[in-house]
């Protein structure tokens, strides 16, 4: 019983309320020994009594007790409660009055969308800062996981700076499509967004800055992976530098020739891409063509075909 009393007292002092241990013991003793209340029930009743008398919200008391495991962002699973340590990578525009903040949070293993609901009544988080999110719940929306910070969750700010890593992923397959918006493009000098028809969504008509990029679809026969190649990778894999591409476009009076050439040299071929996954895209850090098959795989498959 002493243990129980200490436990309760410790939990309350975490919340900044010091209750004389004798007082707790006395109440417990009365319940358990005199009125024959089971231990668990006695505990609950005593806790509730003090919560009421010190005006503490029940969920504040119980969140700390949560059994939610601390997990990595790459390991989140639908419907599970969890604790997450991460850095706010981006805050997005709030789209609904019931949402307090929405954005992207990341840890060493990846990034995920988070929503802090207005009803959670929590203080605002800042972009670039690291936090410990307790008792959040994971759900799936539109085929992607996201985390929800609700009224039973809590947020603690962390002093350390969590490095947002991106779990490196690998995809091996055929490049089956290069999508529009690839090739030689222009970006807004203000915000770096790709221009559409010479205009930035945010800043209107601007003098764009040339860049190279490829939005590719990789396909291995059982799944697809959208991949984005930045200038460095595009130059490496196509052998066409940005200057060459600009010159090609100037010669032809058409930016489209660059895209056509890329399609012609890349589509329908096999590549191994590695990079980090952001949303549905794989941001490619390296891409290499696959030149030949593994002859041991050939033998294995021949053997496998025999036994079917």
């Amino acid at each position: 019983m002493k243990e129980l009393a200490h436990e309760i007292s410790a939990r309350f002092s975490e919340l900044g309320v010091e209750i004389p241990i004798g007082e707790i013991e006395e109440r417990l003793d009365k319940m358990i020994n005199k009125f024959k209340v089971p231990k668990d029930e006695a505990r609950r009743s005593v806790v509730n009594y003090f919560l009421k008398s010190y005006n503490i919200k029940r969920n504040e008391f119980y969140t700390g007790q949560s059994e939610s495991p601390l997990i990595n962002i790459s390991d989140v699973d639908d419907g599970k409660w969890a604790n997450i340590r991460g850095k706010i990578v981006q805050l997005w525009d709030n789209t609904h009055e019931s949402i307090s903040q929405v954005g992207l949070i990341g840890d060493e293993t990846g990034t995920i969308k988070f929503t802090i609901w207005e009803s959670a009544g929590l203080p605002q988080v800042d972009e670039g800062k690291s936090y410990f999110l307790k008792n959040i719940v994971v759900n799936e929306w539109n085929g992607k996981f996201q985390i929800n910070v609700n009224k039973s969750s809590s947020i603690e700010s962390l002093d350390e700076d969590i490095e947002v890593g991106n779990a490196t992923v690998e995809f091996k397959g055929a490049m089956v499509d290069i999508q529009s918006g690839s090739g030689l493009i222009k970006r807004c000098p203000e915000c770096n967004r790709a221009l559409t028809k010479g205009a930035c969504m945010e800043h209107g008509k601007v003098d764009g800055v040339y860049d190279l990029r490829i939005k590719a679809v990789m396909d291995d026969g059982s799944s697809i992976q959208d991949a984005i190649l930045k200038k460095e990778q595009v130059e490496e894999i196509t052998g066409t530098t940005l200057e060459n591409a600009i010159a090609m476009a100037a010669d032809a009076l058409d930016q489209g020739v660059v895209l056509e050439k890329m399609k012609d040299s890349l589509e329908g071929r096999y590549y191994l891409v590695t990079g980090s996954r952001v949303d549905r895209y794989l941001i490619v850090e390296s891409i290499s063509p696959i030149f030949e098959y593994d002859s041991s795989e050939l033998d294995e498959l021949i053997a496998a075909a025999e036994v079917i």
Binding site: V176, D177, I224, G268, I302, A305
Partner: protein
Amino acid sequence: MAGYTREVARRIFAQEFRESNLTFKDGDDQYAPQYLLTPTGAKVNRVFIVGTLIEKEDIGTDSEYWRGRVTDPTGSFLIYAGQYQPEAAQVLAECETPAFVAVVGKPSTYTTNEGDVLTSVRPESLHVVDGETRDMWVIETARCTLDRLRSLEDLSPNAQRAKEYYDPDVKHYSSMVSQALKSLKETY
């Protein structure tokens, strides 16, 4: 476009593709994608083929309409590209035969007056590639086909439906795969 996901390009050998004749749609919506179900249970809305373009012919009357024949170790695919597949039609118009080509396209079927179903491919893209790419495709297609044969016993809806409709002879397809794989050995 909520919930839209791109269809995976399936890997199928020409022989299996030719022996497929069951097409259906998921749902009644007029924009619902059309699928071709193959005897080994591949539900196909897009294919990826790498093979040898051995014949090509402009069979159009008013505008260009190209027909190409692309072979793999088990048979050949017919490819049709017209004004709505300008990129593929242009490559067909310009390339020499024979050539290794990679095709990404949609399966389409045509029912003859006799009631036979002919399958062909309407290319989204068509490019000249090298022989290594073609060999890798054969390996990959073999692997995908064997995986499908193995899972024919499963209760997945595609496998079930393929079994009911085609009653496929597993040996027939495993020996097709085997033959395709062994053809790679001969060239090396």
